[in-house]
Each structure stands twice: as structure tokens, then as C-alpha cells.
Symmetry: C2
Subunit: 235 residues, 2 copies
């Protein structure tokens, strides 16, 4: 079996708690305007537009554009659906759209990445673009070797080219790269591209009971969190 | 004047001493085979093929390929020119070609980058590809926010697209990005793309008296080294 040289990571849900982070920023931005809501529901509604927006790029209906632009279009949709279109000005929307740049990591991520970095090259392989990954790394104190993912490939996961472009940029063979994610479908697509796979449980990703507690299809490794994964891999 | 948000760096010559590093590795690989030479001259000859090889990509005669592949073609040319073709086997060539992954930084680079990182986003904008930049960062203990440059742009400096792709990936306006290099021509190309420019002196890049002691055309800042640049910028 080939030696693993690099680990690449899904980010939203796997490394950062998007639901509580977006809910917090939505409340901070919108509650002062007199708008009232279930802010985690607001985050869920915003996130629900994520896959449909990327599907337009994946199918070639629109050219690749950075996730900030898809997030912004989706935010406008969510505000309109709530009847809040007239209440939220451009400045507030632009600021709130960057909530995705300010998400906090799950507590195991900092120590887990630091341990894994002793032994492996590390890079995000997210649908977020480079500037967004840079912002999240600064916000959470992560040290990536490179920032890979959708922007490098000019397409969105689970398109094979996103995993293939990451592998090629690292100068590795596919089987030397381990994809880490809390989403089985992401790992299945990585495996189909020849990568190895590790699942981490994120039972709270979509609120209590709303995340994967384990893989729903075979993977090479499954761990409760990144610290356990580092121990398992000897990182 | 716009606030500077990010610094992007030339690498070969500006951050690392390619001449002594390549000479050291060439001696280590080739002297045991009974080959004898002026090893810094060997490094110079190898480096002399660098611009002509990239020119083939820039002019569209060949598609973009990673610098490792150009370096390898150039190494074969240099060995042949010395009549050493039969003496150096494939394994030795493949190992020696990675001398460019093992170059040591000038002594100010570590502390200079650490100081600048307190205030600015930092990324290489080199003609070296991502895997090569990752290797040099690991070898020298640097912490980049992202790895930008030729591979992202699929072309070689001084083509404008290389600077433009770096600026776009950072989500910055051109005037918010400062290009740092020891080569005036690199800075002139960056300035033409709208970036700001800082020259650092590398008087020993090509041996004693063989590097730029200062810019030969106007730049926004000029410094003796990165520590001085960090002080000047308040980093």
C-alpha cells in the first residue's frame, strides 16, 4: 500500500461549525433591524441553497464563479423569501455574506491539524475559494501547506476534477492523498478519483442529530474527530 | 493611497540562494561519479536555461508545464554540453533535479516573513509550481497564507496574467497587493499590472557582485532585506 503523503480536507461542516457561526452573524446583523427569527433556521435556509447553486456550475449552465458570489445570490433569495428584501441594505448584506469567512472551528481541529502536520502535507480541498480559505485559516490559526480546492479546479466538488487537481498540485499519486470529510458523499467521490478516505463524525453539523455520526458507506478510516484521526495515522 | 493587504514574493534569488544550493547538490550527486567541475558554474549554466525554457511557454510554443519538467530538460542539456551524458543515470538526474526543492533561504527571510505576517497576508508568486513552493516552505519553515504564482495562472512571469491571477485569488484590488522581488524586471511587470512594488537587495544572488544591490528603475520601496522591509512597512 502506498505511503500517505498528504491530507486534504473538506472545510464547511468538517472543520468549521457553519450553522452556529452563520446564525450568530445573522442575528448580529439582522436583529438590530427589528427582524426576528430562528437564526439557526436562517442558517439552514441559506445553506439549503448551496448545492442547487453549485449544481448550475457543475452542469455547465453558468461558468465557475467563487463561492462568495453564490453565497450572496443565495442570501438575497433567503431574505426575499422571508419578506425582508426592503429591510436589509447593501452594506448589511455584503457584511453578512462574509459570515462564511468568520466561522469557528470545532474544538478538535486546531490540535488535530497541528499533530497531523508533523507527518503529512495538509491542504483544504473545499468548495470555498482561496480568499475564503485564507480568511478561515487566519481566523482559526491553521497552517496549511497550500490552498487547493474548487478555485484551482474551476469547478465544484463532487466533480472528479476538483480532487484530481488537488492531487496533481501536490505532485502526488492519488493513493498518496487522503481526503478527510464529515460527508460520506464527498469521500465516495474522492475514492472514485483514486484517493484514500477518512471520515470524521460531526453529529452536530446541522444541529443536534443533524450530522453524520459515522460513514454511511465504506471508507479507509473513520474517527470521532481529528485528534483521534491523528493518533490513528500516527501523526 | 489604498492600504496594502497582501505581500506576494518572488522566490528564486529573492528568498532562496539558488546558486549555492544547486552547486552543493550538484557536487554531492556528481563528484562521487568522478565528475569534476566548478559547481557554482554548473548552477549558473543550469539557471541560464531557465528564461529560454519559460519563453517557450510564454510565447505559446509549448503549453504550460511545471517548472520541475523545464528544470529537468535543462539539466539534461547541461549534462550533455559537458559530455557527461553517459555518466549520469536516471535516478541521479531525478534526485538532482529536486535540488530546487531543497534550497536554503537567505538568513533574513525567516524573521522577515514572520514579522510581515503579523500585519499582511503572505504568498509566494513564483515561477515555481505549487509542490515546489510547498517543499521550500517546509524546508525553510515558512508559513504562507496561500501558494499563488505560475501554476495558478498556467503561464510564467513576467506575463501579466500571473500577477493578475494572484491578486484575484486574494480577493484584493491590485493596489492592495505589494510584489516583493530582488529583480527589477519582475517588479516592473507587477507595476504594469497595477501592483505596488518593493525591491530587496540580493548582491550575492549570482555570486559576489552578481545580484542587484538596488532597483534599476523606480519602485515603491527598496530595502536591504526583508527584516528592513518589515520595519519600513510597520509589519
Amino acid at each position: 500500500m502506498a505511503q500517505i503523503r498528504a491530507l486534504i480536507f473538506d472545510v464547511f461542516g468538517t472543520l468549521v461549525d457553519w450553522r452556529r457561526g452563520v446564525a450568530r452573524d445573522a442575528q448580529a446583523a439582522l436583529a438590530p433591524l427589528g427582524l426576528d427569527g430562528d437564526w439557526e433556521g436562517f442558517a439552514d435556509d441559506w445553506r439549503a441553497q448551496y448545492q442547487p447553486a453549485m449544481a448550475e456550475v457543475r452542469t455547465g449552465r453558468i461558468p465557475y464563479r467563487k463561492l462568495d458570489l453564490l453565497h450572496r445570490r443565495n442570501l438575497d433569495l433567503v431574505l426575499r423569501a422571508r419578506g425582508w428584501d426592503g429591510a436589509v441594505d447593501e452594506t448589511t448584506r455584503a457584511h453578512l455574506n462574509l459570515a462564511w469567512h468568520r466561522l469557528d472551528a470545532w474544538p478538535d481541529v486546531g490540535p488535530g491539524l497541528a499533530a497531523l502536520r508533523q507527518r503529512f502535507l495538509l491542504a483544504p480541498c473545499s468548495n470555498g475559494h482561496i480568499a475564503l480559505m485564507v480568511a478561515l485559516a487566519r481566523h482559526n490559526g491553521w497552517h496549511w501547506d497550500a490552498v487547493l480546492g474548487a478555485e484551482l479546479a474551476q469547478d465544484y466538488k463532487p466533480q472528479p476534477v476538483v480532487y484530481q487537481a488537488a492531487v496533481a498540485a501536490l505532485g502526488c499519486a492519488p493513493e498518496e492523498v487522503l481526503m478527510v470529510a464529515a460527508h460520506t458523499d464527498d469521500l465516495q467521490a474522492a475514492a472514485a478519483a483514486g484517493l484514500r478516505t477518512a471520515h470524521v463524525a460531526r453529529p452536530f453539523e446541522k444541529g443536534p442529530g443533524g450530522g453524520e455520526t459515522g460513514p454511511t458507506a465504506p471508507v479507509d478510516w473513520a474517527a470521532a474527530d481529528l485528534v483521534e484521526l491523528a493518533r490513528t495515522l500516527g501523526g
